[in-house]
C-alpha cells in the first residue's frame, strides 16, 4: 500500500512539475526567499548590523539562481522540460525555413514509405503467409520412398480418424480444391471451390464476417454433409455485390444446390478461392485424401514424424499396394513451402532496394544538416557562451533530426496506407495472389517506427556532434575554416556513399531491364499475335464415356472455328497449352533406346494445334483431323527429344511408348481411347519451343492426338482476326452453342503466362526506386556544391581579384565534388560486380554486364554535371568587388 501511495505521489509531483510550471517556480522562489530572510534574521541575532547581515546573506545568496537550477535538476523532470523547449525551438527553426523542412521530410518519407510498404508485403508473403491460427505448426504429410519422387500421404476416412487422435498433433484436416460450374447467369461460370473437413475452419480459426461457418457437428466424417457454402469476400463482392442478403441464397454448383451460410474475410482467398464447402468423406469405399496436420505447441517435427511413421506403417499393413514400400514419413511445414517459393528472392531484392533508397535519403538529410550547420556556427557559439553545455547543444540538434524523422514517418505511414492497396491492384497475378493480404497494420507501423528511430540516429547523430564541435571551436577562436573543412570532408564522404548506392541501384535496375529484354527477345516458338486462350471445364457427371466426350470436344472445335472472327482455332488438354506452358511429365520406352526410363513431357493436342499457333515443322508431317477422331497412335516430337533420343538417326518412324498408359490407374476424369496401349509412331518433328516457362531450358516433349486420353479440362486456343479480347462474347456464344452449360474461365492473352509480368513489375519498381534515388542523390550533390561554393565566395573573389582565370576557380570549386563522385562511382561499380555473384544464386544476373555498367556510369555522369552546373556558374560569375564588400 505504501509503495502504491508513494508511486502515486511521485507521479502527481512529476505531473505538477511539468504542467504547473509557474506554480512550482513560484513555490521554489518563496521557499528560498524564506530561507534567506531567516538567515538574515539569524545573522542579526548574532549581532551584525542589519546591513552587514544582509550583505552576508547576499553573498551567500549569490548563487540563488544556481540553487534554483540545482533544485530543478533534482526534481528529475528537467530533461522533459528541455526536450519540450528543444522541440519548440526546432519547430520554430523549421517554420522559418520551410523549404529545408519540407525537402528533408520528403527525402526521408520516400524511403520510409517504400520500406514500410515492402515490409507489409514481405510480412504477408514471407513472415506470416497464412492468416490461420497456429499457421507455423501446419504441415503436410509426405511419404518418401527409398527412391523416386516424394508422394503426398493420403488417408482413408478411417485413417483420418486415427490420424486426428495422434498425441503429437493438435488435430488434422483435409482440404481439396475443385473447380465447379456455377449456373444461373448468362454464361455458366467456373468457380474455385475448396472442400474442407468439418473441423477445419474452427481449427484454422476462420471467423466469418457475416453468417457462420460450417462446423464439425454438422459435417462429420461418414454421412454426406449438408449442402452449405461459405463464400470468400471476393466471391461475395463479385457475385452478390457484397449484399448481406446473400445469406440463405442458393448456388447451383455442378447441378447441386448449396445454401450460402456465411462469408469469410478477404484474407482467406489465398489461392483465389471463391467458395468453401464441407468435404464429403465416404467411409469404406477406399477413397483417400491428402491430410494436413497441426503439431501440438512445443512438439518437434522429428517427434511427430516418428509417431506418424508408426501410424502410417499400421495403415500400410491394412492397405495393399497403395503405399510405397519402406517409405519414410516426412512433415513439410506449410510456411516453409511458402517461403521457398520463387517470389521470396524477388521481394527480398525489392525490399533491399527500398532500404538503399532510405539510406540515400538519410545521407541527404545529413548533408543538409551539415551544410546548414555551417551557417549556424555563430548561433551555436553564442549558446556555448551563454553556458549551454556541449551535450545540451547536441541534444538540441538531434531534436531537429528527430522532428524531421517523426514528420517523415507519419507522412510515410499515411502515404503507404493509402497508396498500398491501389499499388497492389497494379501488381500482376502471381504476386498479387500472395501480396493481396498486405496492409499497413500495427506490425508495419511498428516497423516504420523502429526504422524511424534508426534513421533519426543515423542522420542526426553525426551532424549534431560535428556542428556542436564547430560551435565550440568558433568560441575558442579556432579558425572557422577548420570546421568547414571537416564539414566538406564529411559531405564528400556522404556524396561518395550516395553515388555508390545509386550506382548499385541503377546497375540492379539495368540488370532487371536486361533480363526483361532477354525475356521479350527469347524465342517463344510460335506467333502469339491475336491469340487468346480459355479454359473449358466439362460438367461433372456428364460426357462420362469416351465417344460422348470426344463428340462434345469436336462439336466445340467446329463451332468455334466457324465463327467469322476466328482465323484459326484448336484445342489442347490441360496441362498442355501454348508455349511456354508445360505438358505432363511421363516416363517412356522407346524403340532402339539403350537406357530406358527417360522422362519427357507429353502434350495432348488437336491436329490443328501447330497450324493455329504457327509452330513450324522441322521434318515429317502432322496428323490429320481424322487421326484426331480415331485417336491414331502417332506423335510429333520436338527437336530436343529427337536429338536426345536418336542423336545419329532419323527419328521419323521410330516408336515410343508413354508408360503411364500401362502404369497408372487412370483417374476417373481421364478417359482412354479404346484399345490404346500407349505406343506411338513418330511422324514429325516440330521446332523447339519453350515448354517449362520462359526461364527454364527446353525439355524433350511429344505431342499426340488429344483423343488418346480425354480429360475433362481443355484449353481452347484461338487466333482471331481482330483484337482477341474484343471477340470474347462471340467466342462464349460459340462455346455455348456446343453446350450451353459449359463454363469458361476467362479469356487471356499469351502475355499473361509468358512470365513477362513479373519481370515488368520488378523492372517498374526498380525503375521507380532508381529514379527517385537519382533525384535524391542529385539534390544532395546540388546542395553540397551550392554550399561549398557559397562558403568559399570570399576566397574565389580574392583569387579572381588577383587575376586567376575563371576556369581555375571553377576547377577549385568543383574539385572536391568531382573527387567524391568518382570515388563513389568506382566503389558502386565494384560493389555491383561483387553483388552480382551473390545475387546469381537467386538467378538475378547481369549486374556486371558491361553495357549495364556503362549505362550506369553515363547516367550518373550526366546527372552529376547537371546538378553542379548551376552552382558552378555561380562560382564563376562572382564579382570580386561586390563579393568582398558583402563579406
Amino acid at each position: 500500500v505504501s509503495r502504491l501511495e508513494r508511486w502515486l505521489r511521485v507521479v502527481s509531483l512529476h505531473v505538477r512539475s511539468l504542467c504547473m510550471k509557474n506554480r512550482v517556480e513560484q513555490d521554489l522562489a518563496d521557499e528560498l526567499t524564506f530561507h534567506f530572510e531567516q538567515e538574515a534574521q539569524r545573522q542579526r541575532a548574532r549581532g551584525l548590523s542589519p546591513e552587514a547581515a544582509r550583505a552576508v546573506v547576499r553573498r551567500q545568496a549569490y548563487g540563488l539562481e544556481a540553487v534554483k537550477d540545482a533544485c530543478r535538476d533534482a526534481r528529475g523532470v528537467r530533461w522533459i522540460d528541455d526536450a519540450v523547449s528543444d522541440i519548440r525551438y526546432a519547430v520554430r527553426t523549421f517554420g522559418r525555413n520551410p523549404g529545408f523542412a519540407i525537402s528533408t521530410v520528403l527525402m526521408l518519407a520516400t524511403g520510409i514509405a517504400a520500406s514500410t510498404g515492402l515490409f507489409a508485403v514481405m510480412d504477408a508473403v514471407v513472415l506470416r503467409p497464412f492468416p490461420y491460427v497456429g499457421a507455423d505448426r501446419l504441415a503436410r504429410v509426405q511419404l518418401l520412398p527409398p527412391s523416386g519422387p516424394v508422394r503426398r500421404a493420403s488417408v482413408t476416412a478411417d485413417e483420418f480418424r486415427a490420424l486426428r487422435q495422434a498425441s503429437t498433433l493438435d488435430d488434422a484436416y483435409i482440404r481439396e480444391s475443385f473447380t465447379k460450374t456455377l449456373a444461373g447467369s448468362a454464361f455458366p461460370e467456373s468457380v474455385w471451390t475448396e472442400s474442407y473437413t468439418g473441423n477445419a475452419l474452427a481449427l484454422l480459426g476462420v471467423q466469418p464476417i457475416i453468417g457462420r461457418v460450417f462446423t464439425e457437428a454438422e459435417a462429420s466424417i461418414g454421412p454426406d454433409p449438408p449442402r452449405v457454402a461459405v463464400l470468400t469476400y471476393r466471391f461475395w463482392q463479385r457475385r452478390f455485390a457484397g449484399q448481406p442478403n446473400a445469406l440463405g441464397q442458393t448456388l447451383q454448383l455442378n447441378d447441386e444446390p448449396f445454401t450460402v451460410i456465411g462469408v469469410v474475410p478477404a484474407e482467406y482467398s489465398l489461392d483465389l478461392t471463391d467458395v468453401m464447402l464441407p468435404l464429403p468423406m465416404n467411409v469404406g469405399n477406399g477413397a483417400t485424401w491428402p491430410a494436413v496436420v497441426r503439431l501440438r505447441t512445443g512438439t518437434s517435427i522429428a517427434v511427430a514424424e516418428a509417431e506418424l511413421q508408426t501410424l502410417f506403417e499400421q495403415f500400410a499393413r491394412s492397405r495393399e499396394n497403395a503405399l510405397p514400400r519402406n517409405f519414410r514419413v516426412r512433415l513439410r511445414l506449410l510456411v516453409d513451402e511458402e517461403r521457398g517459393a520463387s517470389l521470396v528472392p524477388v521481394l527480398t531484392m525489392l525490399f533491399a532496394a527500398a532500404g538503399l533508397l532510405l539510406l540515400i535519403g538519410c545521407a541527404n538529410v545529413m548533408i543538409l544538416l551539415l551544410a546548414r550547420g555551417r551557417y549556424r556556427v555563430h548561433e551555436i557559439a553564442v549558446r556555448h557562451a551563454l553556458g549551454a553545455t556541449r551535450s545540451r547543444i547536441v541534444r538540441l540538434l538531434l531534436c531537429e533530426a528527430l522532428l524531421v524523422t517523426v514528420a517523415a514517418t507519419v507522412a510515410a505511414v499515411i502515404a503507404a496506407r493509402y497508396l498500398l492497396p491501389s499499388l497492389l491492384d497494379l501488381v500482376p497475378g502471381v504476386i498479387a495472389q500472395r501480396a493481396g493480404r498486405s496492409v499497413i497494420g500495427p506490425t508495419a507501423i511498428f516497423f516504420a517506427a523502429s526504422l524511424a528511430a534508426v534513421v533519426a540516429v543515423i542522420s542526426g547523430a553525426w551532424p549534431a556532434v560535428a556542428v556542436s564541435r564547430w560551435g565550440g571551436d568558433a568560441i575558442r577562436g579556432a579558425s572557422a575554416a577548420r570546421g568547414s573543412s571537416v564539414g566538406s570532408v564529411g559531405s564528400g564522404v556522404l556524396i561518395a556513399a550516395q553515388v555508390a548506392i545509386v550506382a548499385v541501384l541503377l546497375a540492379g535496375t539495368g540488370a532487371a531491364m536486361r533480363a526483361l529484354v532477354d525475356l521479350y527477345r527469347a524465342p517463344i516458338g510460335y506467333d502469339p499475335t491475336r491469340v487468346t486462350i480459355a479454359q473449358i471445364y466439362l460438367p461433372t457427371n456428364r460426357y462420362t464415356t469416351w465417344p460422348a466426350r470426344l463428340a462434345v470436344y469436336e462439336r466445340l472445335r467446329a463451332e468455334v472455328s466457324h465463327e467469322p472472327l476466328v482465323e484459326g482455332s484448336s484445342i489442347s488438354l490441360i496441362p498442355a497449352g501454348p508455349p511456354p506452358l508445360s505438358g505432363m511429365t511421363t516416363r517412356i520406352d522407346a524403340q532402339g533406346l539403350r537406357d530406358a526410363d527417360r522422362e519427357v513431357l507429353t502434350l495432348s493436342v488437336a491436329s490443328d494445334y501447330f497450324a493455329t499457333l504457327k509452330m513450324p515443322l522441322a521434318r515429317g508431317r502432322v496428323w490429320s483431323a481424322s487421326d484426331d477422331a480415331r485417336a491414331e497412335g502417332v506423335t510429333v516430337i520436338n527437336e530436343t527429344m529427337a536429338r536426345q533420343l536418336w542423336p545419329n538417326e532419323d527419328s521419323i518412324g521410330k516408336r515410343v511408348r508413354d508408360r503411364s498408359f500401362a502404369e497408372r490407374q487412370n483417374p476417373p476424369w481421364v478417359l482412354n481411347a479404346p484399345g490404346r496401349d500407349g505406343w506411338f509412331e513418330v511422324i514429325g518433328v516440330v521446332r523447339d519451343a519453350p515448354n517449362r516457362g520462359m526461364r527454364e531450358p527446353i525439355a524433350p516433349a511429344m505431342y499426340y492426338p488429344y483423343a488418346t486420353a480425354l480429360s475433362d479440362v481443355a484449353v481452347l486456343l484461338v487466333r482471331t482476326r481482330g483484337n482477341p479480347l474484343a471477340a470474347e462474347r462471340e467466342l462464349r456464344t460459340a462455346v455455348s452453342r456446343a453446350d450451353a452449360s459449359l463454363p469458361i474461365i476467362l479469356f487471356i492473352t499469351p502475355e499473361t503466362f509468358m512470365g513477362w509480368q513479373q519481370g515488368e513489375f520488378v523492372t517498374a519498381v526498380l525503375l521507380g526506386f532508381g529514379g527517385v534515388a537519382l533525384l535524391l542523390a542529385s539534390f544532395g550533390l546540388f546542395s553540397v556544391a551550392c554550399y561549398s561554393i557559397a562558403h568559399r565566395t570570399r576566397e574565389f573573389a580574392i583569387r579572381l581579384a588577383l587575376g586567376a582565370p575563371r576556369s581555375t576557380v571553377l576547377r577549385a570549386a568543383l574539385q572536391s565534388v568531382a573527387v567524391a563522385v568518382s570515388l563513389g562511382l568506382g566503389f558502386g561499380l565494384a560493389l555491383s560486380v561483387a553483388l552480382n555473384s551473390v545475387l546469381a544464386r537467386w538467378s538475378i544476373r547481369n549486374m556486371d554486364d558491361p553495357s549495364v555498367l556503362a549505362a550506369t556510369v553515363g547516367i550518373l555522369v550526366v546527372v552529376t554535371v547537371a546538378a553542379t552546373l548551376i552552382p558552378a556558374r555561380r562560382a564563376t560569375s562572382i564579382e570580386p568587388a561586390i563579393a568582398l564588400r558583402t563579406e
Binding site: R9, D27, F34, H35, E39, A61, V67, A70
Partner: protein, 110 residues
C-alpha cells in the same frame, strides 16, 4: 573559517530523513537543526540542502506542505512519509554496516 567537511554521497539524505523523524521542519530549520545537533560541525550549504530536499520529495520519501511558522510566516514544511521512514531504516542499517567497516579498517593495527 575552515570549510565543513564534504558529506558522503547520500549521507545528507540520511541526515535529513533522520532530522525529520521528530517533527516536520522547513528547509532553513533543517539546516539549523543539523548544525545544532552535530555540535556546529555539519554546516550544509543551501546549494546542497535544497536540491537534496527536492530530490527526496520527488522520490516520495518526504512531502512538502505550506504552513505558517510560529512568527506567522508562510514556509514549506517537510515531513517524513511512510516510505521515507522505511528508506531511513534501510539507510541507517546500511550506514551502520559501512561505518563499522570503516572503523574496523581504521582501528586495525598495521
Amino acid at each position: 573559517v575552515s570549510k565543513p567537511p564534504d558529506l558522503f554521497q547520500g549521507t545528507l539524505d540520511l541526515l535529513i530523513l533522520k532530522v525529520l523523524v521528530l517533527e516536520p521542519l522547513n528547509g532553513w530549520a533543517i539546516g539549523q537543526r543539523l548544525l545544532q545537533v552535530s555540535g556546529e560541525v555539519l554546516q550544509v550549504s543551501d546549494g546542497s540542502l535544497y536540491p537534496a530536499l527536492h530530490k527526496l520529495e520527488q522520490e516520495g520519501w518526504i512531502k512538502g506542505e505550506w504552513r505558517a511558522t510560529e512568527n506567522n510566516r508562510r514556509a514549506k514544511f517537510y515531513s517524513l512519509t511512510r516510505s521515507g521512514q522505511k528508506q531511513l531504516n534501510k539507510e541507517m542499517a546500511h550506514w551502520d554496516r559501512i561505518s563499522a567497516a570503516i572503523m574496523r579498517v581504521l582501528t586495525r593495527e598495521v
